[in-house]
């Protein structure tokens, strides 16, 4: 039986999933190009949330309008992180690379604690508010807008990578750094760009989330982990895979909360994660 409650759960799962997708796409992009897991990815998202929060709290600017600011700022921050830290550890052992991005994560998180305090904050009044009633299924308009924004941004990244000249250069760098250089592609610049785009997508996701999700210094942890799971499920470096996996995770989480216990919904995501690792280690969409 297809109850409205079930429809409600599925739909909110998809809406949340679209945001997970956006966060995962940025992470998988960086992995695909340089085989580095960015543990600070969730904290880039956290920065985007705070940018929208403070622009709202201080100047009354709606998150819809601060979104481009947080995208641009995070684009810049991602490039700076690459230039200052990541570039130095490119050929280094895996463990050093993990420590480096972990270091960025800790730094950002504790700067947020220091400056913003551990308080849970939220944005109350926004341009978009209220609910839409679809035959008894209520969808919150901020969440709907956030999902639409996430979908559009993910689509833009996809088009950039697959249809444009610079996207071709990113893909070429991902496939074979040496061959890319032989084509005249400055691979170091592509790495910088990938970090910029990766961080910008996280920042945009943060702004989109800021209208309906609590904002606190550790919020990045939740999204960073979920993004990592989505990247693994979708196949490392696979943008389309990360997109599908993000939605899947959103639905699984919502269904688990509905059928079982909301407090344990994330547990089911990890069960799914372990299941896939066990049976399809190349990811759901990955090829061997």
């Amino acid at each position: 039986m297809f109850s409205t409650e079930l429809a409600q759960t599925l739909l909110s799962g998809v809406l949340m999933g679209l945001i997970f997708s956006l966060v995962a796409v940025g992470l998988t992009l960086i992995w695909g190009i340089m085989d580095i897991v960015n543990f600070a990815h969730g904290d880039f998202l956290m920065s985007g949330m705070y940018i929208s929060y403070w622009m709202y709290a201080l100047w009354g600017i709606d998150p819809l309008l601060s979104l481009p600011v947080s995208g641009a700022f995070l684009f810049f921050l991602g490039m700076v992180a690459y230039r200052l830290v990541i570039r130095r550890i490119l050929g280094a052992p895996m463990l050093i690379q993990i420590f480096a991005t972990f270091g960025i994560m800790i730094l950002m998180r504790y700067l947020a604690f220091y400056f913003f305090k551990p308080n849970y904050r939220s944005i109350q009044q926004t341009l978009l508010s209220g609910n839409i009633d679809l035959h008894g299924v209520y969808l919150s308009i901020p969440q709907l807008a956030a999902a639409a924004g996430a979908f559009l941004t993910t689509g833009a990244v996809y088009v950039l990578i697959h249809k444009t000249r610079v996207g071709g250069a990113l893909q070429a760098t991902a496939e074979d750094r040496e061959a890319a250089a032989l084509m005249g592609i400055n691979t170091d610049r592509m790495f910088t760009l990938a970090w910029g785009i990766g961080a910008a997508t996280a920042g945009i996701a943060g702004s989109l989330l800021s209208t309906f999700f609590y904002i606190f210094p550790e919020v990045g942890g939740i999204f960073g982990l979920i993004a990592f799971v989505a990247v693994t499920l979708g196949g490392f470096g696979n943008v389309a895979g990360a997109f599908v996996a993000g939605i899947l995770i959103g639905v699984v989480e919502a269904m688990a909360g509905y059928l079982y216990d909301p407090a344990l919904k994330t547990v089911f995501v990890y069960v799914l994660f372990l299941g896939v690792l066990f049976f399809r280690p190349q990811g759901l969409l990955g090829v061997e």
Binding site: A172, A179, L182, M183, G184
Partner: protein, 235 residues
């Protein structure tokens, strides 16, 4: 045009080339032969800027390119068809060709180069949307050469273009190289295991051994030299 002058190259401190000298005059086909591990690929990678010499210099049309990074080499007019082809296997044939034209900005010029590639390799024009990784060995080599041609180079360097392809196609590849030189005015630096074919095609040849240039002469003279006959032709 290209002058590799007494270079030494190492991989993280392990020497690979000790003393290599190769000169490529404008308009010529120059072949470099040598046994496995003698340093042929290392030499080409160095000329393409992927590695840099620890001693000696490389000049191209008078400019020192010893320390020029690889991504700045194509726009100077040098292209390398690397060992193992190094295609972008997940991309379409068309996109591989577009990547070859990465340094070209004029639409008209890119179209001209594309037509030229199709003139040499009509088969590629039938496979534009196919994933490069699914091509046959011969088609991959055609694409690798075509991709290099897309940057409109004046010097084309090829690393064992005949390796791993069907015997009837090997002749075709050598024909293409001869045509590119004679009809399209491309200067060619060719590294080959296929010693007799390469030296008969080449105006000049060099023999390298364990990272050293040991012999150089015209292609014909090298073919007749006792050392080449003994070492490479089993005579």
């Amino acid at each position: 045009m290209l002058s590799i002058d007494r270079i030494a190259v190492d991989y993280d401190g392990v020497p690979a080339l000790h003393d290599i000298t190769v000169r490529v005059p404008e308009g010529a086909i120059v072949a470099v032969v040598g046994s496995n591990g003698s340093g042929k690929s290392t030499m080409l990678k160095t000329a393409a800027g992927l590695l840099h010499p620890s001693r000696g210099t490389i000049t191209f049309e008078g400019a020192d390119i010893s320390r020029t990074p690889a991504h700045e080499i194509p726009k100077m007019g040098i292209a390398l068809v690397p060992e193992g082809r190094k295609l972008f296997g997940k991309m379409s044939v068309r996109r591989n060709l577009d990547m070859g034209a990465y340094t070209r900005t004029s639409r008209a010029e890119i179209e001209r180069n594309l037509e030229r590639v199709f003139r040499f390799f009509p088969r590629l024009s039938e496979r534009l949307s196919q994933q490069a990784g699914t091509l046959s060995g011969g088609e991959m080599q055609m694409l690798a050469i075509g991709r290099a041609m897309m940057s409109n180079p004046r010097l084309l360097m090829l690393d064992e273009p005949s390796l791993g392809i069907a015997p009837n196609l090997v002749d075709r590849i050598f024909e293409v190289i001869a045509d590119l030189n004679a009809k399209e005015n491309l200067t060619i630096l060719l590294v080959e295991q296929n010693v007799s074919e390469a030296l008969s095609l080449a105006h000049f040849g060099y023999v390298i051994q364990t990272g050293r240039t040991v012999l150089s002469d015209t292609g014909k003279a090298l073919l007749d030299s006792p050392m080449v006959r003994k070492a490479f032709l089993g005579m």
